[in-house]
Amino acid sequence: MLTVGLTQYLVLAAFLFCCGLFVMTTKRNAVGILIGVELVLNAACLNLVAFSRYRVGTIDGQIATLFIIVLAAAEAAVAIAIFVNYYRTLATIDVDKGDELRG
C-alpha cells in the first residue's frame, strides 16, 4: 500500500517545476512559454497546499493558492492580449522573430 505524504507531493511539485522550467527555456512559441509558466505556478500551488496540509496546519497556504490561481489567470489574460498585439504587427508569435531591439 503506497502512502501518499508530504514527500510525494513535494517531489511531484518539483517535477512540475522542472518541466515548467524546461518548457520556458526551450519553447520559442510564446503560448508554449506561457504554458511553462502555468506549470511552474501549479507546482507552487501544489507545494503550498501540501505544506499547509501536512506541515503547518493552518489554511494560509490554501488561501494563498486561491490567490495565485487568480493571479495566473490575470497574467495569462494580459499575456495573451500582448501576444495578439504582437501577432497583429509581426504575423507570428515566435519570440525569436522579435529581433529589432538588440544591442
Binding site: L34, V40, L41, S52, V56, A64, A74, A79, I82, N85
Partner: protein, 570 residues
C-alpha cells in the same frame, strides 16, 4: 476572542486611515474609469484626475507620516491569536509613497506635454488616455503595496499588481512594432520570473510554516540567539551556517523575482529592450518607479533575512561570522550589486540609442543602490526607533532614490522633448542640440553629469552618502571596501557614455539641422530637475542626508501588534 467577532472583523477607521494613500489611489483609478461616461473621452480629463489624485495622495501621505511619528503602525491585523499584520505603515513606506506620488505627478506632466506635441499626428494615444492612466495608477498602487507589505502573499499580489499593468503600458502605442516586441519580451520575462518567485515563496512557506515576514525574522533571530549562546569563541563553525537546501532555494527563487523588478544581474536582459521599445513616458516610469519599488522590496527582504541581534556577533570569531547565513546573504547581494553596476556600465559604452544608454545606466544605478543593501548593521535592541541605530545603508538608498528620480526624469524628459521633435532616438539626433535648443541641452547636461556623480550635483551627494555608508560599516566588515572601490571605478567608466551624449550636443554640430522651440512646460520640467539637482549638491547636501536618516530610522522597528505577537510565539 470569540470566533463570531473574528468572523465579523473589519479594519477599524484608524487602520484604514493608515492606508489612505492607497485608498485614494484606488479612488482615483475608479474616477478615471468613470469619467469618460460622464464627460466624454477628452484626453485631458484623466490626466487632470490623476494629478488631483496625486495631490490628495500626497496630503494623505503627509497625514500618515504624522500619525506614525512615534513608530510604525501595523494595519489589517484581525484580532485573533496568531494573526499577523499584512501591511505596515512605517517611515520607509511613507517615503516610498511620497516618491511614487511625486513620480506619478511628473510622468503625468510629461504625458501631457507629449499629448500636446503629438496632437493631430497620433490620435490613438489620446483615445487611449483613459487606459493609460488606469494602467499607470494601478501599477503605482502595486508598487506602494510592494514596499509596505510584510507578508509574502501580499508581496506576490503587490508585485503582480505592479507588473501586469506595466506589461500593457509598454504596448500602449498599439501601432508600434517596437512596442509590441518590447511588451512581448517584458511579459515573457516577467511571467517567468514571477512564477519562479512564487515557487520560491511556496518553499519558504514550507520551511518556516508561515507567510509572514516578521515571524520568519523572529524564527531566524531565535535560531541565531541559540547559536550565539552555544558556540564558544574557539569552537568550529560548521554548524553556524543554515545549510538547508529548501531555505536557500526559496531565497534564491525569491531573489529571481526581486532582481527582475530591479533589472539587476542576472535578470536584466529585458531592461534595454523594453526601455527602447516602450513609449518614453512609460520608459521614464519604469526606470524610476518600478526600479525604486524593486529596491525597496529588496531592502525589506534583506532587513528580514540579515539582521539578527548585535552585529558583528560578540562571541563569534570573525571567521565564524562569515559563515552565518546573514553574512552569506549580504555577500551575495554585494556580489550581485558589483556585477550589476559593472555590467550596466560596460554594456552602455557601445550603445548608439539614447534610450538604451539610459536603460543601461539605470541598470548601473540599480547596482549602486544594491550595494547599500549589502550593509548589515545591528538594529537597536528594543526594536525602538532610536536615532543612533538607523541603518546607514537604508538612509543612503533613500537619499539615492530621491536624487535618482530627479536625474532620470530630467534626462528622460529632455530626451523625450528631442525625440518628439525629431522622431528618432538615435544618438545622432542630439547633434548640435546646444545650439538648436540650448534650454533643453543645458538641463540635460546637468542631469547627465549628475548621473555620472560629479560634484557639485545631486548625483554626487547620493553617491557620497552611499560610499559613506559602505565605509562606515566597513569598520566591521572590511570586504565592503571592495564595493567602494568597484563603485568609484564604475563612476569613471560611466563618464564615457554619458559624455558621449554631451559631446553630441555641444562638440558636434550640423548647420543643416534647424533650431527648434521646445514646449515651455517641458523646459520647465527638465530645468526644475536640474536646478534641484544643483541645490542638492550644494546647499541641500546636509539636509538631504539628515532627512534620509530620519526616514530610515524605523526599518527594523516592528509595530506594536507584531511585537506582541512575536513575544507570544517566542
Amino acid at each position: 476572542m470569540n470566533p463570531a467577532s473574528l468572523n465579523n472583523w473589519l479594519p477599524s477607521a484608524d487602520e484604514l486611515h493608515l492606508f489612505s494613500p492607497e485608498l485614494i489611489l484606488v479612488g482615483t483609478i475608479v474616477a478615471v474609469l468613470v469619467a469618460p461616461l460622464l464627460v466624454g473621452r477628452r484626453p485631458a480629463v484623466p490626466a487632470l484626475i490623476a494629478v488631483l489624485g496625486c495631490f490628495v495622495g500626497l496630503v494623505a501621505t503627509w497625514a500618515v507620516s504624522t500619525q506614525i511619528a512615534d513608530g510604525p503602525q501595523a494595519g489589517m491585523v484581525p484580532p485573533a491569536a496568531g494573526a499577523t499584520p499584512m501591511l505596515l505603515a512605517d517611515r520607509f513606506s511613507v517615503f516610498y509613497k511620497l516618491l511614487l506620488f511625486l513620480a506619478l505627478g511628473l510622468i503625468t506632466w510629461l504625458w501631457l506635454i507629449g499629448a500636446q506635441k503629438r496632437n493631430g499626428t497620433n490620435s490613438a494615444s489620446e483615445r487611449g488616455a483613459t487606459e493609460f492612466f488606469v494602467l499607470l495608477l494601478t501599477s503605482a498602487l502595486g508598487m506602494m503595496l510592494m514596499v509596505s507589505s510584510f507578508n509574502l502573499l501580499v508581496l506576490i499580489i503587490a508585485i503582480e499588481t505592479a507588473s501586469l499593468p506595466s506589461y500593457a503600458l509598454v504596448a500602449s502605442d498599439k501601432r508600434s512594432r517596437l512596442g509590441a516586441e518590447a511588451a512581448l519580451k517584458y511579459v515573457m520575462f516577467g511571467a517567468t520570473a514571477s512564477a519562479i518567485m512564487i515557487y520560491g515563496v511556496s518553499l519558504l512557506y514550507g520551511r518556516f510554516g508561515t507567510l509572514d515576514l516578521s515571524v520568519i525574522a523572529s524564527t531566524l533571530d531565535a535560531r541565531y540567539a541559540e547559536l550565539r549562546s552555544t558556540v564558544a569563541t574557539s569552537a568550529p563553525v560548521t554548524h553556524v551556517a543554515v545549510t538547508d537546501a529548501v531555505f536557500w532555494l526559496g531565497l534564491a527563487a525569491l531573489g529571481v523575482g526581486i532582481t527582475f523588478k530591479i533589472a539587476a544581474v542576472p535578470m536584466h536582459y529585458w531592461c534595454p529592450d523594453v526601455f527602447q521599445g516602450a513609449p518614453i513616458e512609460v520608459t521614464t516610469w519604469l526606470s524610476v518607479a518600478s526600479k525604486a519599488a524593486g529596491v525597496g522590496l529588496l531592502l525589506r527582504i534583506v532587513s528580514v533575512f540579515t539582521v539578527t541581534g548585535p552585529w558583528p556577533p560578540p562571541n563569534l570569531p570573525p571567521a565564524a561570522a562569515g559563515h552565518t547565513y546573514a553574512m552569506t546573504v549580504a555577500v551575495l547581494v554585494g556580489v550581485l550589486a558589483a556585477v550589476t553596476c559593472t555590467v550596466g556600465n560596460l554594456a552602455a559604452l557601445r550603445q548608439e540609442n539614447v534610450k538604451r544608454i539610459l536603460a543601461y545606466s539605470s541598470i548601473a544605478h540599480a547596482g549602486y543602490m544594491m550595494m547599500a543593501a549589502a550593509i548589515i548593521v545591528a538594529p537597536s535592541a528594543a526594536g525602538g526607533a532610536s536615532a543612533a541605530t538607523y541603518n546607514t545603508g537604508m538612509a543612503a538608498v533613500i537619499a539615492y532614490l530621491f536624487v535618482y528620480l530627479l536625474m532620470n526624469v530630467g534626462a528622460f524628459g529632455a530626451t523625450a522633448l528631442v525625440v518628439w521633435q525629431t522622431g528618432t532616438d538615435h544618438l545622432s539626433t542630439f547633434t548640435g542640440l546646444g545650439r538648436r535648443a540650448p534650454w533643453v541641452a543645458l538641463p540635460l547636461a546637468v542631469c547627465l553629469f549628475s548621473l555620472v556623480g560629479l560634484p557639485p550635483l545631486g548625483g554626487f551627494t547620493a553617491k557620497w552618502y552611499l560610499l559613506l555608508a559602505l565605509g562606515k560599516t566597513a569598520a566591521t566588515q572590511p570586504w565592503l571596501w571592495i564595493l567602494v572601490v568597484v563603485a568609484v571605478i564604475n563612476t569613471a567608466i560611466s563618464l564615457y557614455y554619458y559624455v558621449r551624449i554631451i559631446r553630441q550636443m555641444y562638440l558636434t554640430d550640423d548647420a543643416a539641422l534647424p533650431a527648434f522651440r521646445p514646449p515651455g512646460g517641458g523646459v520647465a520640467l527638465v530645468s526644475a530637475c536640474a536646478i534641484i539637482l544643483l541645490l542638492l549638491g550644494t546647499l541641500w547636501f546636509g539636509p538631504l542626508g539628515r532627512r534620509a536618516q530620519a526616514l530610515a530610522s524605523d526599518i527594523y522597528a516592528r509595530p506594536p501588534a507584531a511585537q506582541a505577537e512575536l513575544s507570544h510565539r517566542m
